[in-house]
Symmetry: D2
Subunit: 306 residues, 4 copies
């Protein structure tokens, strides 16, 4: 009876790089935290401690900084592609390189009514993400791109029901036709292709902006019968307007807002005062897929070593 | 040789209340996390376990919810004042009531170019705060109001020097005349009076907005010779334009951005690629005070039981 | 061109239940945070907002509390099995029920040299985990059990090398034959069967204790040539001594401890003073599997909706 | 009307240093996170951006590492004293130096029944702390030492009442004579003198161990009528057995454990199943002082710039 090495991967996680692009005193800023994972022929490192095939994570970190200089950071997805292709191309033992980026948004500070050239303030509560997987090298190389958003916190103060559900001996919840619906969304969308129109340097950023706006608009406009239905409508809404996307995955904690019983104090509470609870919370996950979607391949994290 | 009870306080911390104000389908939302601390004649509770003077923290939580309904939540500072005065007024053993509020900002979601009536998204990275202290009751009652902001993260990509500093045998840092200056600000400002013009229901909110904008504008505009100087100029800038404020306290971690040495890879790095470090970090704190400021009294947290 | 619902699941997450078992004044305590995820026939809830098949997450929470009373909490794995089987058994639309538990350890406080009957203190930095998946009902029902440990932080101050690695133009790291090796382990082990000897109520707990000790002993005893090799030896070591386990999955951030250069201050640093860095960090993941392991089935989280 | 600089301080925060002491293959480890704050003549840095008086925080970090090598790290309090005295002694503008240390505890891994020479595992949930303040230099130099513990989580499953409290129109809580009492303690104790018997290198560590055990034993043994009373008895208990201590300050969130109502499911719940809530929580703070205590001087954080 033997024992064997199964799936494995390694890489440098959370290299936090800030790239300033200078045009005189007018600066652009991009703030990325980059994680790299390499899969391939690393059995000797595990079984014998032989590092001959192991590109150190320290070197991977160096590449992040060097690439931030040259070729530089355009769209987040392109930077992730550049990095993943590099490791797949030049590192013999690597079969699959996966690069995940979390981007922090900065806005310009306003001074005397005008946006400042080189002073910035963190804007937004959410984080933009990108995850790129590259497999193989040369003519056989394949690439998958997933973009996403984390911690997008939204709330509807009405327009949300929850009723007609399955009840059993453990059910105490009552039907409601008007509740607060709040969640902190983690959403990822898979692009049908790893390339966009090269003529437009802002194409990836524009697509991100459109998807974000569409998600928010659907959340707002859909009369919710359940968080499940809201997620479905949000994902479907994006695929309907973004032909270059093949799939949307949504993960949504139900941030319960409980109507407070004020009767002991002689007060009515017509949907006005809520206790925002921390835990427990419902957690709803749903994937929405185009019927003729491309094979997802390695686009999503490998469960075995995610 | 005896042993005595010293300073003490107690109260309910972090009651998270969300208040919806409905005008048909057009809703306003206010999202507050409220902490209460009471000081007074509570020796018996400690020394003998006698609760006769102790208003339970559970009751305090109830008051937060009841007051959110009636009188309701206008400006954050007013809600805190209402709560603190209540405990000082009605609870005999209470000598000082202190109420601290953290407010989460929500913006309206845009649908078809228009702000939605009742769908919201978390905006901004920072938290608005208010801390109110009320002492005594009746004609002798006094009140102090401090407003503030937390986690206001800002960055200047140039316009910041650090040189000419004290050096000794442990100094390895070199002078620089161009660095990235970034910090996550915690700033509190003390109002000269606990009241504003009652004719204007938005006066507290307007003042908050003005102070925030002034702080950001000064951060951006001041050519920084040190974070100390930037803080001083920010605080002074606020006091110059806000006559109703007496003091500004600023606390600023220096979020170091180190220029990466790319020479080993044959690349120059003319202020473009930075490693954003986590720890350690410089921590700078400075108070800026108007010369004829009112006595701060109990405005600030009591160090003995903060 | 159509759009379809893909993989989905939902459930109540992080219900924090504390179970006291009383034998006079001698109490036992078990402190569990329970998350439930159900998969099955929930398309109508998404596509039409029809909740007829949806057992509310509120009801799931109620079941956690009710089951903590009856049948009660024995071993963590058994409690998770009881819950998962319940949802698979009684809820028609459910095809797969997955229950994850995080357990906080409490030790007895010592008073006058003896362990106290009902006073406890949190011990240990790590968290014990269990994840149970149950599929189907009746005679066809299958169950998988994974146990684990999180945040097990370990450090070797010597006995760790890293050299002979792949180098390229981006490599600046030097070989070392003596470094600090530190990590915060997340380790899961899959049991070959969902049942243990029923005659021994402590069998699951005993197995957990043995695996934890074996993992630590291997970490300590193995002369490390790389973190990869250490993980492999830890996983292999467990499978060698625990015939009832089929697989071990290890995830280990390399918590870098950098030797500080004290030469500018005229001091040598012979492996004594280290800077413990936060980010970035290497992240190593490896699975170790018995060659004749049972089919893992649904033991591990489904990547599509993890 | 002028505007002036008020209280201010600066320093390097959270330098994370790990010190290995080697005796052949037998190693000792000390894991400290050190924060420094300097007060003094720093007005020019603020008002004019003149750094001539400013010892950079980078230099302060260097001193932490250099001192970890020489004189090395014995007791946490002594290391903090060494650092604080250094800055007060050698840095002209410094009037007060304050050094705060958080210490992470490591235990030895057991291999074949014996503690390993140089392999360690994080033990305990809590953090040991020390805060030292040094004022002046030469013969006039004064020093204060405060030791402490953070995140010491304790729970009593019985032996805790809460009744007879003040009730008003907002009170809904019922009296109870048997509840779960749980808290996560932050406790600091002030030493009467900054020195201990130099003949005993372990004197500070021994004192820490005794205080921790005494605190836990009092928490366990006192029949609690309120958390206030428990805190008082814990603080008093320490001062009674530790003549070298002058004051104990305790801060305790009341981690509410609510008895779950299982009647809807036909189950009694005789003090067995509890929901452990997150927020809101009661927060109780109490100081216990010896009547003939030495003047606390600058022992405690300065409220103005804490």
């Amino acid at each position: 009876m033997g024992i064997s090495l199964g799936a494995n991967q390694y890489g440098k996680a959370e290299t936090h790089v800030v790239r300033i692009t200078r045009d005189g005193s007018h600066h652009e800023i991009r703030d990325l935290t980059v994680s790299i994972a390499l899969r391939g022929d690393f059995a000797a490192a595990h079984l014998e401690g032989d590092q001959a095939n192991v590109l150190p994570t320290d070197t991977q970190k160096n590449v992040v900084f060097a690439f931030a200089r040259e070729p530089g950071v355009g769209a987040t997805e392109v930077f992730a592609l550049d990095l993943a292709r590099h490791f797949a191309d030049i590192c013999g033992p690597v079969e699959v390189a996966r690069v995940t980026v979390h981007e922090t948004a900065w806005g310009r500070i306003t001074v005397d009514g005008a946006p400042h050239d080189h002073a910035f303030v963190r804007t937004g509560h959410e984080t933009r993400t990108a995850a790129v997987t590259v497999q193989g090298r040369g003519a056989d190389q394949r690439a998958w791109v997933v973009s996403g958003i984390q911690d997008l916190v939204v709330l509807k103060s009405t327009g949300s029901e929850f009723r007609g559900f399955l009840a059993d001996r453990y059910t105490t919840l009552a039907d409601t036709d008007d509740r607060v619906l709040a969640t902190s969304l983690v959403i990822d969308w898979r692009h049908a292709s790893a390339t966009v129109d090269d003529a437009d340097p802002g194409a990836w950023d524009d697509r991100f902006t459109r998807v974000r706006e569409r998600l928010l608009a659907r959340f707002a406009a859909v009369h919710s019968l359940a968080l499940q239905q809201t997620l479905w409508e949000m994902g479907k809404g994006v695929l309907e307007t973004e032909p270059a996307l093949d799939e949307v995955r949504l993960k949504a904690p139900n941030l319960h807002h409980f109507l407070v019983d004020l009767q002991p104090f002689g007060l009515a509470n017509p949907g006005e005062v809520f206790f925002a609870a921390d835990r427990p919370y419902g957690l709803i996950q749903a994937n929405v897929v185009r019927d003729d979607a491309a094979d997802p391949g390695l686009a999503w994290p490998d469960d075995a070593v995610r």
